[in-house]
């Protein structure tokens, strides 16, 4: 059918994706803090963290199974899955969240009016609402640390993992100015960069030679809540001897 009624989003030059190798993840949480540092995530403080108002664009979810001494646990790093059929996008009345041609589920803070519908329709709970003025909790001189490439959000807007879009843009611009193609591994997201065990791999899924494309083909791969048909671009690789 003509593209004006087709539900395929336009395809850009790249399609960014991530692979999370659960067999490599040690649960060390470096990615969580790296994300805070890179993306100017606010500190909520003890009470508000307990009340579920903290910000973790990426978090290590731990799931118990079994009783002592047959205890088992799983670590699952969960961040925005940047679903190709993101359920959070169409419900926003003001297009504050939409899909970029490069496959990012992008959040436009200035458009957001805070209906919080997107988080309700988000099966992974990876969207975060600014319940309070986040900048206030950066006690002086902590604001000196803030990354100038990333907006400090204001009260009343949603925020979420952007796949470090500021890094993507910078790398793309640098490559364009230098007149070359963007190479695989030239840059990565803050979480993937901090991961000592290399459990997180970020890259271009359109490039069949990229590490992320190769890993995403792995027989161990699965995607979170795949049955919902959200079609995430974050591929998980099972742990264990699969």
């Amino acid at each position: 059918m003509a593209d004006w009624v087709s539900d395929k989003s336009p395809k850009g030059q790249h399609r960014w994706g991530m692979v999370v190798d659960l067999d490599r993840c040690t649960g060390c949480s470096a990615c969580v803090v790296a994300c805070h540092a890179e993306n100017n995530l606010a500190i909520a403080g003890p009470t508000d963290t307990d009340e579920g108002r903290s910000f973790d664009w990426i978090r290590i979810e731990r799931y118990w199974e079994g009783d002592f001494p047959d205890t088992k646990a799983h670590f699952v790093p969960i961040m925005c899955q940047h679903c190709e059929a993101a359920p959070c996008e169409p419900v926003c009345p003001v297009y504050a969240t939409y899909h970029t041609p490069e496959g990012l589920n992008s959040m436009v803070y200035v458009r957001c009016i805070g209906t919080r519908f997107c988080q309700n329709n988000d099966p992974y709970n990876v969207r975060f609402f600014n319940w309070f003025e986040p900048a206030l909790n950066f006690a002086d001189p902590l604001p000196n640390q803030l990354n100038p490439d990333v907006t400090v959000r204001s009260r009343g807007v949603m925020e979420k993992c952007s796949f470090c879009v500021q890094r993507i843009r910078r790398a793309e611009d640098d490559a364009r100015l230098a007149g070359r193609k963007l190479a695989d591994g030239e840059f990565t997201t803050a979480c993937a960069q901090s991961c000592s065990a290399r459990a997180l791999v970020f890259g271009d899924l359109t490039d069949s030679q990229s590490e992320v494309s190769r890993l995403a083909e792995s027989a161990r791969r699965f995607r979170l809540l795949e049955s919902l048909g959200t079609n995430p671009v974050v591929y998980y690789l099972k742990g264990g001897q699969a």
Binding site: W4, V5, A86, P90, Y95, H99
Partner: protein
């Protein structure tokens, strides 16, 4: 329109019908005769030809115009500022249908109300012939007369039909 209007007040519908009949008998044309009442009576109760209303034709037209406007607003604006949303086409017909439907209904309601007021010739801020007892359930028969002569005839006709009070306006 308000000059040479004669108004006769009747306490009940039978009297008013009588008044209308005697005016008709005095060869006042039916279209110049009107009845003011506190409740709607069928035109047949006074022996007058039925009133016409175009609302049943206007409403569907308004509805269709509303639907077209709604769809244009939705599809057109989406087409002009194309923002891809995951798994939703630029013009998503089911979603567009909802807005189209609501706007069609809104147009239908607003246009119908507007034309109702037009048909009722409201709002009317002139001092048109009226009698306060109409509010108490009485009826008033009005007749538009060509001239003072005719008006005198109308007064006589209404009085003979048993009007409690007959006044002349303008």
């Amino acid at each position: 329109m308000t000059s040479n209007v004669v108004l006769g007040v009747f306490p009940d519908v039978a009297g008013a019908a009588q008044g209308v009949q005697s005016l008709l008998a005095a060869s006042f044309p039916a279209h110049s005769i009107d009845v003011l009442s506190g409740v709607p009576y069928p035109d047949e109760a006074f022996g007058l030809p039925p009133q016409q209303s175009n609302l049943t034709k206007i409403a569907p037209v308004a509805w269709i115009i509303g639907a077209i406007c709604g769809f244009t607003l939705v599809a057109g604006s989406a087409w002009l500022s194309r923002l891809p949303l995951a798994a939703k086409p630029i013009v998503a017909l089911p979603a567009a249908g909802v807005i189209t439907y609501e706007l069609a209904m809104l147009f239908g309601v607003v246009v119908t109300a507007f034309f109702t007021l037009r048909e009722m010739r409201l709002p009317d801020w002139r001092k048109s012939p009226y009698h306060y007892r109409v509010a108490e359930g009485w009826l008033a028969v009005t007749v538009q007369c060509r001239d003072a002569m005719a008006a005198t005839g109308a007064i006589a006709a209404l009085k003979s039909a048993g009007a409690e009070e007959v006044t002349r306006h303008g």
